[in-house]
Symmetry: C2
Subunit: 292 residues, 2 copies
């Protein structure tokens, strides 16, 4: 399993560097603990792995993209902490561990999130392996993807949609913003830092868009068919929370078909890129195959 | 009153531009309203005014610093929204208006804050009047000043200190981070964008440090002696909340003396800068004279 080794390798690299970047003895004690708690909470590290996979696809060394990958993971981590808050999704567990506010209280969970979001820009600005032009390009992309036209908009639309019956288009619009934007940002940042052409960036963006939707369909399917211990949250929680999901809209078999269709679209985009894109293809397959 | 005209002029400039930068018809409706509510809530706009005052002192046009000034004000606005939340300072009113979460609920207040923080970096990255090097310098400064070694650390220390008796050193450490860092960031960003020398930046930093402390001492004094309608919150709320303040540590007269001493220190630093620093001197005096 070459991909497993690739993921494990990059994951380790990112986790080590992220801890290094985010820790400082000068951070007030409880705040520092709250930040590290969520950084240490694990996860697939899909975003940084995607970024580094794109860089290797374009023949660039991972080292150059490492701090940007950590910035995106830090920003993703902030979004999980804030999304879990009582006034948002009110989740007590994530990946089988207590959520940040259940351990450190709401105030420190909010502050840890604020700190991670703010730090993510420091990671990029302080990265000595990038030129100023590169820093500006990836930070512009990151702030746009994460802001009120991107990820924050997705969370806001999700909150407003609570309890409402959504159409497939509305559901897709929420997911494109809530999870899709940051996935796209990861893939595009990898392309930008590798000096990909505009044409190549266009295909990378379409690839990222397709795997973003596939990722969400798979999440919804796992909520129906997954193993509670493996996915780290109760099975059927979407239905219990009256959430609109792909299986609800298309049926379970229909949702699986949509998943396959989007993975196909993603791979088609890769075929337009004149590099060995096997790692990116395998990452698309991994999104179908994963069990958490 | 030359200074009043200067402040009114810059305030108008910043408020117009900030609204322009922060508004987009594509932002989800409630989120957009929550963002604009706090942007429109007024305030002294001290941080952007300071930045623009430094630029004029160094013979630079305000226009060049305008979007960075708006970025700092947006970031400051986010910090107020999050600080007011029930799990933080639990304030119902700010500047005589209901706080963000009292109008839009906690979830949207958190998201509006997240959006403003994220957008502040977009404002800098998208600013066509700056070089990439300048963008990187000010964004690096902003993220460091606002992060877990700066402003967020100050809020965390303030939360942890709740109800405790603080020494003067501890109180100063909290304020240096909680309000001082972003004031320093404003002054230094003005210096950086004007091409100030390292020596000049050193004096600007010391000036900003002194007015930062003076600003906080004055805040504490106003809480004792101020007019409720003018300061926009109940007089004596610090004492009621059992907060350590400068008047509590030094007595009211002692606090006033400290205030004068810091303003003197600030002006001494200005005298080391080979430019006409009268606007910055007057801004230091304004911090003593203000009644809200």
């Amino acid at each position: 399993m070459l991909l497993d080794a690739f993921i494990a390798d990059k994951k380790k690299l990112v986790e080590q560097r992220l801890k290094q970047l985010a820790s400082s003895s000068s951070i007030p004690e409880t705040l520092g603990k709250a930040i590290m708690y969520s950084i240490d909470a694990g996860g697939k590290r899909l975003r940084p792995v995607l970024l580094l996979a794109v860089m290797e696809t374009f023949g660039c060394k991972s080292e150059k993209g490492l701090d940007t990958a950590c910035a995106i993971e830090a920003l993703h981590t902030y979004s999980l902490i804030h999304d879990d808050l009582p006034s948002m999704d009110n989740d007590d567990y994530r990946r089988g561990k207590l959520t940040n506010h259940k351990v450190f209280g709401e105030a420190f969970a909010i502050l840890a999130g604020d700190a991670l979001l703010t730090m993510s820009f420091s990671f990029i600005m302080d990265d000595s392996s990038l030129t100023s032009d590169e820093k500006v390009k990836v930070a512009a992309l990151l702030s746009k993807s994460a802001g009120p036209l991107g990820m924050v908009a997705g969370q806001a639309e999700d909150m407003e949609a609570e309890g409402a019956e959504l159409t497939a288009d509305q559901l897709q619009s929420i997911h494109e913003k809530k999870t899709g934007q940051l996935l796209q940002c990861s893939v595009l940042a990898g392309g930008i830092l590798s000096g990909a052409s505009d044409q190549e960036l266009k295909h990378l963006k379409a690839y990222a868009h397709a795997i973003g939707i596939a990722f969400q369909i798979k999440d919804d399917i796992l909520d129906v068919t997954g193993d509670e211990a493996t996915i780290g949250k109760p099975v059927g929680s979407d239905e219990a929370n009256n959430k609109t999901t792909y299986p609800k809209l298309f049926g379970l078999e229909g949702a699986k078909k949509e998943l396959t269709r989007y993975i196909g679209l993603a791979k088609k985009e890769l075929s337009e890129i004149g590099h060995d894109t096997r790692v990116l293809e395998q990452l698309a397959d991994y999104i179908i195959a994963r069990n958490h």
